[in-house]
């Protein structure tokens, strides 16, 4: 009977749609975390704090006036809510970044972690604005008047994946640009980066704000999946999951973030799905973090750089992919290589 229950859940499209929407959301956040931590070397342990700022901003400005007992509810449309979430998160990232980015490595990690907790405590205590621990039990979703329940779920899944794809395209652009190389340079060796004219402090702040704005844009997607907002949603668990996925997939690898999220969430959701008799339920709950830990240990033992690695994304390929970016450039470089092979004495190619 237990097996039957599990199988029926696996066969339900709702389960899979929900899971894939969650994977899309986590993938977007983890890719952004990779830009900041993987390439920029800024070990941000407070990314959920930025998500909280974006989420609360979106919910507060889009909630219909009068529905909740709070001081401010202008009832803006969804698109305005998304823009407001991005702007507010960007501003908060700037304000947090100013003091926090003066610290490095574990000190930066502690400061960002603390800021995320401060934001959560504010959400709990600023009852007039955030509705306290109860939060908001409904969230404005786009297209609600156009589609019925099941179709809407499909549309939102598509929107989420489109957003994740957009984030991927952004990280791809970054990885091949001078900006991406400057990030990795300052992470690898700050004194040398400085000696090449890279303004490290400004680059760090720019990146922190860029990631903040983007996380603010992802926040509404997360809420459309959750359909409520409360401080408990923004516990550090979210940050840890994104970090675990990043390490699993391969920190500083471009596609690793997506693969890591896919593997981790499939694994944990399926573990959750196993139906156990009531007397073993405590054990089942305890197995969940244990299983994640085991997965992490196995990957780090046998593939210390993660499933994919930084060398896989960059390495020798970095030169070729950049050269091959345009079809014309590809042909040109191939011709050049051929001509060089014929006449190895003269390598003064134009």
């Amino acid at each position: 009977m237990n097996t039957l229950a599990a199988i029926s859940a696996l066969g339900s499209p709702t389960f899979w749609m929900s899971l894939f929407m969650l994977i899309g959301i986590y993938a977007a956040v983890t890719m952004l975390l990779n830009v900041e931590a993987g390439w920029g070397g800024m070990w941000d342990l407070g990314i959920v704090g930025l998500l909280a700022i974006g989420s609360y901003t979106y919910t507060i400005v889009t909630n219909p006036p009068g529905e909740f007992d709070v001081v401010y509810s202008p009832g803006w449309p969804v698109w305005a809510g998304i823009l407001a979430a991005m702007a507010t998160t960007g501003i908060v990232a700037f304000l947090v970044g100013l003091p926090a980015l003066r610290a490095r490595r574990e000190y930066f990690l502690i400061i960002t972690f603390a800021f995320a907790e401060v934001f959560r405590q504010l959400a709990i205590n600023l009852r007039d604005v955030t509705h306290g621990t109860v939060g908001f039990s409904s969230v404005a979703r786009p297209f609600e008047s156009f589609f019925e329940k099941d179709a809407l779920r499909g549309v939102l899944l598509a929107v989420t994946w489109a957003a994740a794809l957009l984030v991927y395209a952004l990280t791809r652009r970054i990885s091949r640009s001078g900006y991406g190389r400057a990030l990795r340079a300052m992470r690898d060796n700050e004194p040398v980066a400085l000696s090449l004219g890279i303004r490290v402090s400004w680059l760090r702040l720019q990146t922190f704000v860029l990631v903040g704005v983007a996380v603010g844009g992802v926040a509404p997607l997360y809420l459309w999946w959750l359909r409520y907002v409360a401080p408990s949603v923004f516990e550090p668990q979210f940050t840890f999951t994104a970090w675990t996925a990043l390490v699993l997939g391969g920190i500083a690898s471009r596609s690793g973030a997506v693969l890591g999220v896919g593997v981790l969430l499939l694994f944990t959701e399926l573990v959750e799905l196993i139906d156990v008799p009531p007397e073993f339920r405590n054990v089942h709950v305890a197995v969940h973090p244990l299983a994640i830990g085991l997965l992490l240990v196995l990957v780090l033992r046998f593939r210390p750089e993660g499933l994919l690695s930084e060398r896989g994304t960059f390495g020798a390929r970095a030169r070729q992919t950049t050269a091959l970016d345009g079809a014309g450039a590809a042909v040109a470089s191939r011709l050049r290589r051929l001509s060089l092979r014929g006449d190895s004495g003269n390598e003064e190619a134009p």
């Binding site: 640009s177 001078g178 190389r181 340079a185 004194p191 400085l194 090449l196 030169r319």
Partner: protein, 258 residues
């Protein structure tokens, strides 16, 4: 940006009474020197003489307690390293770690890139720049004999190649003045004369040079003018012949280090 006309005529870089102490240790004591672009300048002295500290002050990594630096007639004392770098002063480091996760090609790209990094990403200018930098990198690596190592990760280079890679990377930024911190350290003796030739080539291409090194025969061979430092002070200066003949230099420098 205040221009000063105190600079001795023709000097590219001048320091005036630089002083720097760490706690009770005076690392640099009243150092004034002029650097002229038409000759290769060297700075020698025993360990702990304050040579690298002086480099660090000139390139902005350390703030002098007092004294001033002018580059091209502009005061640069107290500026941040990236600001000084953008004015055309490049330097190498004693330990050539570089960017260990990058290939040689990538680290060359970092060095030449324009500094409007985030906005450069959004335009096609970035792509054109990459192509331009790629050609410049090819040229430099070719000249230094590193062209076969284009796709090698920097941390997998042999020690000698790593030194050259460090030089190559700093050349990418097309500096006007290059400070070399112990370029011959870790280079095997057979390759030193080739290194001297390369350094002369760099100088001939129009880049002013200042070199710190322990290897006295290498320095006396490559340099046109030598400053000798001991205990934070410049104790002697002159042509390599004068320095080699100076009894004071022999006593202080070779007495301690050889």
């Amino acid at each position: 940006m205040t221009a000063t006309d105190k600079t001795s005529s023709g000097a590219m870089l001048s320091t005036h009474g630089l002083y720097k102490a760490f706690g009770g240790n005076v690392a640099v004591h009243d150092v004034s020197l002029d650097l002229y672009p038409d000759r290769i300048t060297a700075l020698i002295g025993p360990n702990g003489a304050g040579k690298t500290t002086l480099f660090n002050i000139i390139t902005g990594y350390e703030r002098p307690d007092s004294g001033d630096i002018t580059f091209d007639g502009n005061r640069v004392g107290g500026m941040a390293p990236w600001q000084i770098s953008r004015r055309g002063v490049a330097r190498t480091f004693q330990t050539p770690v570089g960017f260990p996760t990058m290939t040689l090609w990538e680290s060359m790209q970092v060095a030449g890139a324009s500094h409007a990094v985030l906005t450069g990403m959004l335009t096609t200018r970035g792509r054109r720049e990459t192509a331009k930098l790629s050609r410049r990198a090819d040229e430099i690596l070719d000249h230094l004999g590193l062209d076969k190592l284009l796709d090698t990760p920097v941390d997998e280079l042999a020690a000698g190649d790593r030194k050259l890679a460090e030089l190559a990377r700093q050349l990418m930024s097309q500096p006007r003045l290059l400070l070399l911190d112990e370029p011959a350290a870790g280079v095997n003796p057979g390759a030193i004369s080739r290194l001297s030739d390369l350094i002369r080539d760099v100088h001939r291409s129009g880049i002013a040079l200042m070199i710190i090194d322990h290897n006295l025969s290498f320095v006396l061979d490559v340099a046109d003018y030598v400053h000798v430092m001991a205990n934070g002070r410049i104790i002697a200066e002159g042509t390599p012949e004068e320095i080699a003949a100076s009894p004071l230099v022999r006593q202080v420098y070779m007495g301690v280090d050889a």
